[in-house]
């Protein structure tokens, strides 16, 4: 492999990871935007999404692969959307006016609940993930691109464009942005703020669910504690892009994935997980507002 081939190969691998991180990071950043809460149970929602997709995939037989993929994605989105909505309703809304720390601890508790629930249902061992798409690969000048990677890129790009459209062009999006700037003023304009917040949780969770499905298809196995590490990395991606900033989460996810891919290729794949957290530490020390973030101090 020539140096250029190696570089391009790691770029392709990193971009795939990055797309998955970005989908999860969006949920962290959207929720932080409207309620200033780091929802540490979000990684678990992602993991539940993977299990939901697995369950749906095993239930369907005899359909073309893209149809199965679509049904798996929609099923996982629906389940996780409902789950995100429900966690906000039962765990976060009752303590919304309590000190931040209470909500943070609740989020960690929620994450344990979800982990253990999935462990009870699916067992503690790795589960093999069904093949959602054929194992096709292409070679271009020594660089291998798999159908897996194309599916991950395509799905993530589609969802991100859709989200961006929703946030920038629809009245729901306008209301979400307004809520993230001034909750009280929104309420005084007649906007049911609680509903907007619940919808934001549901939307972020639905995106994470698709991330979970792609993650399962990419690695081939899933485990009930997969949400922890991947969730933390996606959180790093959200901080990297600037927490609360939606395009920032997309950029942060992709950048983190690329750094991880290139680091694994050039240094050592065993150090793969270290890169993300070195970045997190450096960011918190030197640029806590992230790449695209600027609002941290603009809140009263």
């Amino acid at each position: 492999m020539t140096p250029l081939q190696l570089f391009l190969q790691q770029l392709a691998n990193g971009l795939t990871l990055g797309a998955i991180y970005a989908l999860i990071a969006l949920g962290y950043t959207m929720v932080y935007g409207v309620v200033q809460l780091i929802n540490f149970a979000h990684g678990e929602i992602f993991m539940v999404g993977a299990y939901a997709a697995l369950t749906v995939a095993l239930a369907i037989t005899g359909a073309p692969w893209w149809a199965v993929l679509a049904v798996c994605a929609l099923g996982a989105m629906a389940l996780c959307g409902a789950l995100g909505w429900a966690t906000e309703r039962v765990a976060y809304r009752p303590i919304r006016s309590a000190p931040r720390l209470n909500a943070l601890i609740t989020a960690i508790g929620m994450s344990f609940v979800l982990q253990n629930l999935v462990m009870r249902i699916y067992g503690a061992t790795d589960r093999r993930f069904p093949e959602l798409w054929p194992a096709v690969r292409w070679q271009w000048g020594g660089v291998t691109v798999t159908l897996t990677q194309v599916v991950v890129w395509g799905t993530a790009a589609l969802l991100m464009v859709g989200l961006q459209w929703l946030v920038m062009r629809t009245r729901l999006g306008v209301a979400m942005r307004a809520t993230s700037q001034d909750v009280a003023a929104c309420a005084l304009l007649g906007i049911p703020v609680n509903r907007i917040i619940a919808v934001t949780f549901a939307l972020g969770s639905a995106l994470a669910a698709v991330g979970g499905m792609l993650f399962g298809g990419y690695y081939g196995t899933i485990n009930f504690h997969d949400g922890y590490l991947t969730g933390l990395k996606a959180f790093t991606a959200a901080v990297l892009g600037g927490i609360g900033n939606i395009p920032g989460a997309m950029v942060g996810g992709v950048v983190l994935g690329l750094l991880e891919g290139l680091g694994a290729g050039y240094l050592s794949s065993q150090w793969k997980n270290v890169f993300a957290f070195v970045i997190l530490v450096c960011l918190l020390l030197f640029k806590p507002t992230g790449l695209l973030g600027e609002r941290v101090a603009d809140r009263a």
């Binding site: 929703l166 629809t170 009245r171 729901l172 306008v174 209301a175 942005r177 307004a178 700037q181 001034d182 009280a184 003023a185 929104c186 309420a187 005084l188 304009l189 007649g190 906007i191 049911p192 703020v193 509903r195 907007i196 919808v199 609002r295 603009d298």
Partner: protein, 258 residues
């Protein structure tokens, strides 16, 4: 004819301090009422109790001309949906959104398809989205912001942000508009323009309750003026009569006028 807004013996206590002490006030349909008084007299507290930002310790607020209903206990967004809009003493426009988007947000209570769910994919929802944008453009023009619809709210000068906030409040087509010190921080020219703008709102038949320190703003536009001091209503009447009331002069100047 019952009044549009009726505040009955409204009391708001913070510990031992009475921010409002049995204040009674009514506003008739089509009327512009000025609410004046020294700093800390309880004027903004009264607005907050009426709009559901805070819950009064005691007392009632009734709203509606045909079938008045009590407002105390309702959430802020429910009160807004019943037709009360307000602006803020310290401007609270959505800084990171365009002027147009700020006003579009205000139309929420006048739309039917709702924000949630897949409703934005239906043709009815798209039609409403266009309607909201058209209405917002019309209001921006009305307050003198024509041509600035794409500007970020934070990029507008202070005086225009004030107008933007008024346009946003008007977007819900309220029956009652509460203005909290709309002239604060404006220069004399802008104050004159504000008086003209409020005059045009009156001409449209809007009912207005306005808190204002600047007598040159509040006196020409108010049909009636109520004065608060230490949470109590100490005077009420025509602008002329209130200005000459010894109790009012004492509250403002702090000296008894024997």
């Amino acid at each position: 004819m019952p009044p549009l807004l009726e505040v009955r013996r409204l009391t708001q206590r913070f510990g031992g301090v009475f921010a409002l002490d049995e204040v009674t006030l009514s506003v008739q349909q089509g009327e512009t009422v000025g609410l004046i008084g020294p700093n800390g007299a309880g004027k903004t507290t009264l607005f907050n109790c009426v709009t559901g930002v805070q819950r009064p310790t005691q007392g009632e607020v009734w709203f509606g001309r045909e079938a008045p209903e009590p407002l105390v206990g309702l959430a802020a967004h429910q009160i807004a949906q019943r037709g009360i809009a307000r602006t803020f003493q310290n401007i609270r426009v959505f800084a990171a959104m365009s002027a147009l988007e700020n006003v579009v947000i205000g139309t929420y209570t006048r739309t039917h398809t709702g924000l949630v769910g897949a409703s934005f994919l239906t043709s009815e929802a798209r039609r409403e989205e266009r309607w909201a944008a058209d209405r917002a453009l019309g209001l921006l023009e009305f307050v003198g912001l024509a041509g600035r619809s794409d500007a970020m709210a934070s990029a507008l000068p202070f005086g225009l942000q004030r107008r933007l906030e008024i346009a946003r409040a008007l977007a819900s087509d309220p029956a009652l508009l509460l203005l909290d010190e709309p002239a604060a921080g404006l220069n004399p020219v802008e104050k004159q323009q504000l008086v003209q703008l409020i005059g045009r709102l009156k001409a449209r038949g809007l009912t207005i309750l306005i808190i204002e320190h600047d007598m040159q703003v509040v006196m020409p536009i108010s049909d009636r003026v109520a004065v608060l001091d230490y949470g109590r209503k100490i005077a009420e009447g025509s602008p002329r009569a209130v200005q000459d009331d010894p109790k009012v002069i004492e509250a403002y100047l702090g000296v008894p006028t024997t």
